[in-house]
């Protein structure tokens, strides 16, 4: 039985639903030797500010039970150098590129979007309004409905690309943020970014991360992330969702898809196993065959919540 893995996420066509999560795959080209980038659904590149950034000093990550904290601080080459140096090569590799952008101000988001509008090979823009590791921007916008609205509508005005705000889970009611994003012109939303968290070295009585707090990712957060995707789907059935948070296997991805995600991103799992992509695809195909479901698209949001 042939199965169709392709999906459309708010105008962004992907050959399969598996996208490398932003910040977990460098600019994609780091993985040139181990993965054929054209076989991924998409590549969400590391969050870009307008200008290059150094990020936080080490220690930048710490492992926690079934998860990890990171406080990288968005070290990066900046939007212009990305467009000049990385984007052409990514295009050449056949990658579907989702550019994750971040700003300290609404104008900075719009400015980066404008730069990307003129560039070739930008599949979609993911608005990082949810990075918990920076003092200005990021989550500052994504944890207020007004901030979410402002950033999304400002970028909407300057871009024709599929626009995908990335939501933070550090809010009481994530669905209201999905609605705010939709109303401001988003084509889809992605969720979740990491949970603000911290770990303490009890011997030194100091935080384990140089930045004190960091973002929790990995399997630990999956049940919360699945719940949030479910809530967004319930609140806005027509708004496509890219789900993520702790996906390690095809079965984990299926939880998100059944809960309502049209595509998924995979971050931490890529650190553990850079060859995870083939396994995810193979597992999904096997599942669809076993259940005689002809396409991933037909599976999205099919959770049955009636009592058995």
């Amino acid at each position: 039985m042939s199965v169709d893995l392709s999906v459309d996420v708010g105008g962004l066509r992907l050959a399969n639903p598996f996208i490398a999560a932003s910040g977990c795959f460098g600019y994609g080209l780091e993985y040139d030797e181990v993965v054929d980038l054209s076989t991924l659904g998409g590549v969400a590149v590391k969050g870009l500010f307008l200008e290059p950034r150094e990020g936080h000093p080490p220690v930048r990550i710490v492992e926690t039970p079934s998860g990890m904290l990171n406080a990288i601080g968005l070290q990066g080459i900046g939007a212009r150098r990305f467009v000049a140096d990385k984007l052409p090569v990514l295009r050449d590799r056949g990658a579907v590129v989702i550019v994750n952008i971040c700003g300290s101000t609404v104008d900075e988001y719009a400015e980066i979007a404008r730069i990307l509008e003129d560039a070739d090979g930008v599949g979609a823009i993911e608005l990082n309004i949810s990075c918990p590791n920076i003092s200005k921007g990021g989550m500052m916008f994504g944890s207020s409905l007004q901030g979410t609205h402002d950033v999304v509508s400002a970028v909407r005005r300057v871009t024709t690309r599929p626009l995908i705000p990335k939501l933070t889970p550090n809010v009481a009611d994530v669905a209201s943020f999905a609605l705010a994003a939709r109303d401001a012109g988003a084509d889809a939303v992605s969720l979740v970014n990491t949970f603000l968290a911290m770990a303490i070295d009890v011997e030194t009585r100091r935080p384990k991360l140089s930045n004190i707090v960091g973002g929790l990712s990995g399997p630990a957060i999956r049940p919360i992330a699945v719940r949030m995707v479910h809530e967004c789907r319930q609140a806005a059935p027509d708004l496509p969702i890219i789900g993520m948070g702790g996906i390690m296997t095809a079965e984990d991805a299926l939880e998100f898809i059944i809960a309502g995600a049209t595509a998924v991103q995979v971050g931490t799992a890529n650190f553990v196993d850079p060859f995870v992509w083939d396994k995810l695809r193979d597992g999904l195909v096997a599942y669809l065959r076993r259940h005689a479901i002809s396409s991933v698209a037909a599976l999205v949001g099919t959770l049955d919540t009636t009592r058995g």
């Binding site: 990020g55 039970p65 650190f271």
Partner: protein
């Protein structure tokens, strides 16, 4: 090109209460590995621990025809993965991704090579010594440990034709004190102008001290840093080293640009613990 192999444990030699060496069957990986490169290891199934851990390739195993069949790890117990590696049994499997990182750049005669190792920092020097000796480089190992019982494999280096200078914190073998004691003596005995390359691997304070001592003698040191690494492939930006250059200090990914760096360029204060 790095490979990810599910390597079978061929043997586990527990050298002490803390130290062991494990031999793994992994021809494809071993064949590619160059001195100074590392592998990312997952020694247990499941999420505990979640991430892999970086380990130097210690020795390369070869068959009668000289073909690489596998490699070994030199391991010391500090936490969950290293404890698991200590307890490995023949037949267990360990996932190893590698070889990764940039190799040592090799000294060429007439330059001498001095390798300075502290504790488990000995690990990258077995392959380095083999390569240096193959090109007839006059090679000395300065090797420090807490006490005599901590100085493993010194004979192996002797057998490779490496001069071995030992030191122990408690004076139970070799010089009394840390590894800079014999190193200082060695500097005193060679000509400032004679060609020499220095390589150091061990605890951060030791590498820093070696770098400083060498610098005071007008020498560079290649240090093999042990930054925390989330992925080993450049994906996560966790492993950065603050490197000074004309343009200022920049964070450079150790898994791609390292783990070997010119010690004098490292901003040791901002390196993390």
């Amino acid at each position: 090109m790095p490979v990810d192999v599910d390597a079978v444990v061929l043997s586990n030699t527990q050298l002490s209460h803390d130290y062991n060496s494990v031999t793994l069957a992994a021809p494809q990986l071993a064949d590619q590995a160059e001195p100074g490169q590392f592998v990312m290891v997952k020694a247990t199934a499941g999420d505990h621990p979640l991430l892999r851990r970086p380990f130097s390739v210690f020795e390369i195993q070869r068959d009668g025809d000289g073909r690489a069949t596998g490699f070994s790890l030199l391991n010391t117990r500090v936490g969950v993965t290293t404890r698991a590696i200590y307890g490995l049994r023949r037949g267990d499997r360990v996932r190893c991704l590698g070889p990764l990182g940039r190799p040592f750049s090799l000294a060429t005669p007439p330059a001498q090579a001095w390798m300075v190792a502290g504790g488990v920092g000995l690990a990258p020097f077995a392959t380095l010594a083999t390569s240096l000796r193959a090109r007839q480089v006059d090679t000395t190992l300065f090797y420090g440990g807490r006490s005599a019982a901590d100085l493993f494999y010194a004979d192996m280096f002797g057998a490779l034709g490496v001069h071995v200078r030992l030191s122990t914190d408690d004076g139970s073998r070799g010089d009394h004190g840390n590894v800079t004691v014999p190193l200082r003596a060695a500097f005193a005995s060679i000509d400032r102008g004679s060609p020499l390359r220095l390589y150091a691997c061990g605890p951060t304070p030791m590498m820093r001290a070696v770098t400083d001592l060498a610098a005071s003698e007008g020498r560079n040191t290649d240090v093999s840093l042990e930054q925390i690494m989330g992925c080993g492939l450049g994906g996560c930006y966790s492993c950065v080293v603050p490197l000074r250059s004309a343009a200022g200090t920049h964070f450079v990914r150790s898994c791609l640009a390292g783990p070997i760096f010119d010690g004098s360029a490292v901003d040791w204060e901002r390196l993390g613990r």
